[in-house]
């Protein structure tokens, strides 16, 4: 099979004409679209050009996490190609559908990009290699077994004849793929496991990288939307006549029962008209909802009789009732917004025959489904072109903004329309990290050992709102990330003879979403800060207290020991500096952090973080380090500042002046230990976020004697 491949550069990046060409080119299926001499699709994953340039197809979305480079490394390793000649491109969701999902799942979240697809992308590379070797052997009329591939060159071992991938790619494309391929032993990896530079850096330094907001199409108009800011509320009325004569305005339209859109020549004109548009909202049934009323609702759940039980060992309530020394504490975690720096946006063009969407999305296939549903066209008549994401963090796995863009385009058939949200829209129409509270009750024996623990979580389920098919008899299993007795999405690193972890589901009418780290964030905060409380109550060093409970959990313990050693736990801290520890397991990986902080005149300074990640195998340690380091910015932003406050049935914080995030001056040094123990594939984009807050809060307690149990820290005085 041969095809025209457009390089990723001209595919995703570049001028309006290149992108216009792309949209035209991709009306066609891959196959048969160009002369064979131009490039050959050896298989779905690998396209080879005559000049030996290798294009590796990437199904998952790049949003800064480095998956584009990591997945390319996995294919290239098995392909035995010259890494310096590798480029990448995204196949479209429509092509995936048309080709029986040959590229598998496009969804990019849950730190699954690499761990979920590593087997089949490596097989893709290995299969292409075998096809290339077979083609070369056929040309030489020798057995394929006498040939080998290395660095994009195939060699016939007995005669030392050589041919490059580019010279046999066209022939290889028609070779029958082998039914089975053997993957390399990790000890033989040459490209995987190496700290290679990213493939997508250069254009980000010159302004050339095209993000969703930057797209230009011929004849394109621009739009912005305003949806009812009241949760459960609706659009009552708006006075289109008041703004329809404003400069550039083309159309003022209602697109659903809660949203008005304005289309104009430029986005600034659309936004200016939106600011001037008189709108009356129906505030709906929740206008008295507030953070306080939600907190009351959750507080009731802490003591409720009914709860979904997940982790149960022995008889925790019985042991607690009999225990002599019982410690109890209540923690709380507020709503958070993803606040990707690129606001939500999508561009759509609708005709009665075709609906096309250009969008930075974490899930191209979900975007395609949203386009089909919103347009009312069969999915085969829809297509989605993925653009680079200016941050995702889970928000761009939701498709509300895709639906909006299509609904707008549908009212102006034939015209491509780019819709961009304001930051305010982004803050008020979030899919928020849910709020929970947690009551922990622990019992210590006379020797200071933890003999019983009841952890009651009360609060919101994400699955109940966004993926009810994932519920188990009413229970949301994802609520217990990091707290399960087994399983790769997070099992507890402590052996506690009497243990009960349960969840009283309380779902306020606020739309929740997956937010980088998801439920591991608050679960680690609750468990690890309370472990610190128990250790202090027992009069035992917090590291030693944990060690006693971790004998059966060597991988959890190993990362904890790594950070303890890295921070110098056994040696005194510099004067005025105090330390804290935390560990957890989630998204398939074992992680820990140690923090050094000081507090002067009530001001917290985080000096240093030592972090460790055991993800089993590591594809690119440099990118893992970046994910870990960056995760502390995300986790500490939440710990220090992150809070979406509900008041009068809507969110209060509407931009970065009220929703502060960590900046350069507050950024601690991060010393990352990537410690893969082999034998499993864990995720790295998320897990270390969860240990950021507890490590810092435990250090803060050491510094001040104050136990902060409710985030964010900005609401507490440290004086």
């Amino acid at each position: 099979m041969t095809m025209a491949t457009v390089s990723r550069r001209s595919f995703l990046i570049g001028s309006a004409s290149a992108i216009g060409g792309l949209s035209l080119g991709f009306h066609l299926p891959f196959a048969g679209a160009a002369a064979a001499r131009e490039a050959a699709e050896v298989n779905a994953w690998v396209v080879v050009h005559p000049d030996d340039k290798v294009v590796i197809r990437i199904a998952r979305s790049e949003m800064g996490q480095g998956t584009l480079t990591g997945l390319a490394q996995l294919v290239a390793e098995e392909l035995e190609c010259d890494w310096s000649k590798v480029t990448t491109e995204y196949p479209t969701p429509g092509q995936n559908l048309a080709r029986d999902r040959v590229w598998g799942n496009f969804s990019t979240g849950g730190s699954r990009g690499i761990r979920e697809s590593q087997v089949y992308v490596r097989q893709g590379g290995a299969t292409a290699r075998e096809m290339l070797i077979t083609a070369a052997a056929a040309q030489w009329k020798v057995p394929a077994s006498e040939c080998f591939a290395a660095n994009s060159v195939i060699t016939h071992r007995p005669t030392n004849r050589k041919v490059t991938f580019g010279q046999v790619a066209t022939a290889a494309a028609s070779v029958t793929p082998p039914k089975e391929v053997k993957l390399k032993d990790p000890k033989d990896w040459k490209i995987v496991g190496k700290p290679l530079l990213r493939l997508d850096t250069a254009d980000k330094l010159t302004g050339k990288q095209i993000y969703g907001v930057d797209l230009k199409l011929p004849g394109m108009l621009n739009a912005t939307v305003r949806a009812c800011p009241y949760f459960g509320g609706k659009l009552k009325s708006f006075d289109a006549d008041a703004v329809s004569k404003m400069p550039g305005v083309r159309k003022v339209m209602q697109i659903d029962d809660r949203t008005v859109a304005i289309v104009a020549d430029t986005w600034w004109q659309a936004k200016t008209a939106m600011d001037a548009l008189p709108i009356v909202w129906d505030e709906g049934p929740h206008k008295s909802l507030s953070s306080q009323s939600i907190a009351e609702m959750l507080k009731e759940g802490l003591e409720a009789k009914e709860a979904f039980v997940q982790s149960k060992v022995g008889d925790a309530p019985g042991a607690l009732a009999k225990a002599k020394k019982v410690i109890s504490a209540v923690y709380a975690f507020p709503y958070q917004n993803h606040a990707t720096l690129e606001p939500m946006n999508a561009t759509a063009r609708y005709t009665p025959q075709k609906c096309e969407v250009w969008v930075p999305t974490q899930n191209g296939e979900a975007s395609l489904a949203a386009a089909a549903e919103a347009s009312g066209l069969p999915v085969q008549q829809c297509e989605v072109y993925k653009l680079h994401l200016g941050g995702g963090f889970g928000r761009r796995g939701m498709q509300d903004y895709v639906t909006q863009a299509v609904l707008i385009a549908k009212q102006m058939p034939g015209t491509p329309i780019k819709m961009i949200w304001t930051r305010e829209e982004d803050m008020l129409q979030g899919r928020y990290h849910p709020t929970t509270q947690c009551k922990l009750t622990g019992a210590l024996d006379d020797d200071g050992n933890l003999i019983a623990l009841h952890m009651r979580i009360s609060g919101q389920s994400i699955l109940a709102a966004v993926r009810p098919e994932g519920m188990q008899g009413g229970k949301d299993p994802v609520v217990f990330q990091g707290l399960n007795l087994s399983g790769e999405e997070g099992h507890l690193g402590y052996t506690i003879p009497n243990l009960l972890i349960d969840h009283a589901m309380r779902n306020p009418p606020i739309p929740p979403g997956f937010w980088r780290g998801v439920n591991l964030n608050q679960n680690a905060l609750y468990m690890e800060c309370f472990m610190d409380e128990l250790a202090h109550a027992a009069g035992v060093d917090p590291l030693e207290f944990r060690r006693r409970l971790m004998k059966n959990h060597p991988k959890h313990l190993a990362v904890l020991e790594t950070v303890a050693k890295g921070i110098g736990w056994e040696t005194p801290a510099p004067e005025g500096v105090h330390r804290g520890l935390a560990q957890i397991m989630g998204f398939g990986s074992y992680v820990a952090a140690a923090a050094e902080v000081s507090v002067n005149n009530g001001q917290l300074k985080i000096h240093r973080i030592v972090a460790a990640t055991d993800s089993g195998y590591v594809v690119n340690p440099a990118q893992v380090e970046r994910q870990v380091e960056g995760s502390f910015v995300y986790g500490l932003s939440a710990a220090l500042y992150g809070e979406c406050t509900v008041q009068g049935g809507r969110m209060v914080e509407d931009n970065f002046h009220t929703y502060q995030v960590l900046r350069m001056a507050e950024m601690p040094a991060v010393d990352t230990h990537v410690v893969p123990s082999g034998g499993f594939w864990g995720g790295v984009g998320e897990p270390t976020i969860a240990v950021a807050a507890p490590a810092v809060l435990n250090a803060l307690f050491a510094a001040t004697g104050k136990r902060i149990r409710t985030l964010p820290l900005k609401n507490h005085s440290l004086v």
Partner: protein, 156 residues
């Protein structure tokens, strides 16, 4: 009608004088390297130079800029990505999603212009741009690398 000197070229632009410079650059001039992040001068993604000084263009009405003032955007920082900061950024593989990086680089270029050897405290005070991916430590290292004018250790 606005008359602007952008990256060395004079542009005559028919635009409402209240339009922020950011949107004139992005929509009328077609220079999309300068990003929209907040519209409140909070995040710095829209940072460009006016006569060498970094400004947040999302809150600056185009009417406040004269034709004599030299506007420089990320596209005009160098012809070919050869500015020492761009080279340092490349060497240290600084960006993650990259969305904030145009603004980061322009803020850093403004800093180095008036303070060629900034201390950590200078960097803390001047580089207040938001990066949600968390590239701050590599941004700091790259600024120092560019300031030193010397090759640093290859990124690992």
């Amino acid at each position: 009608m606005a008359r602007l000197t952008i990256n060395g070229t004079v542009h005559e632009i028919d635009v409402d004088p209240n339009t922020p410079l950011l949107w004139v650059l992005r929509e009328q001039v077609g220079l999309t390297g300068t990003k929209f992040g907040c519209g409140l001068a909070q995040c710095g993604a829209c940072t460009v130079h006016i006569d060498g000084n970094p400004v947040r263009s999302c809150v600056l009405p185009v009417s406040a800029v004269t034709a004599e003032q030299k506007i420089t955007t990320i596209e005009g920082l160098s012809k070919d990505g050869s500015h020492p900061l761009q080279q340092a950024w490349l060497k240290l593989d600084v960006p993650q999603c990259g969305y904030c990086q145009s603004g980061m680089i322009m803020a850093a270029a403004g800093l180095l212009q008036k303070n060629p050897k900034p201390t950590d405290a200078d960097i803390d005070a001047e580089i207040t741009n938001i990066c949600r991916c968390g590239t701050y430590n590599r941004v700091r290292e790259a600024i120092k690398l560019a300031a030193a004018g010397l090759p640093a250790k290859q990124s690992t």
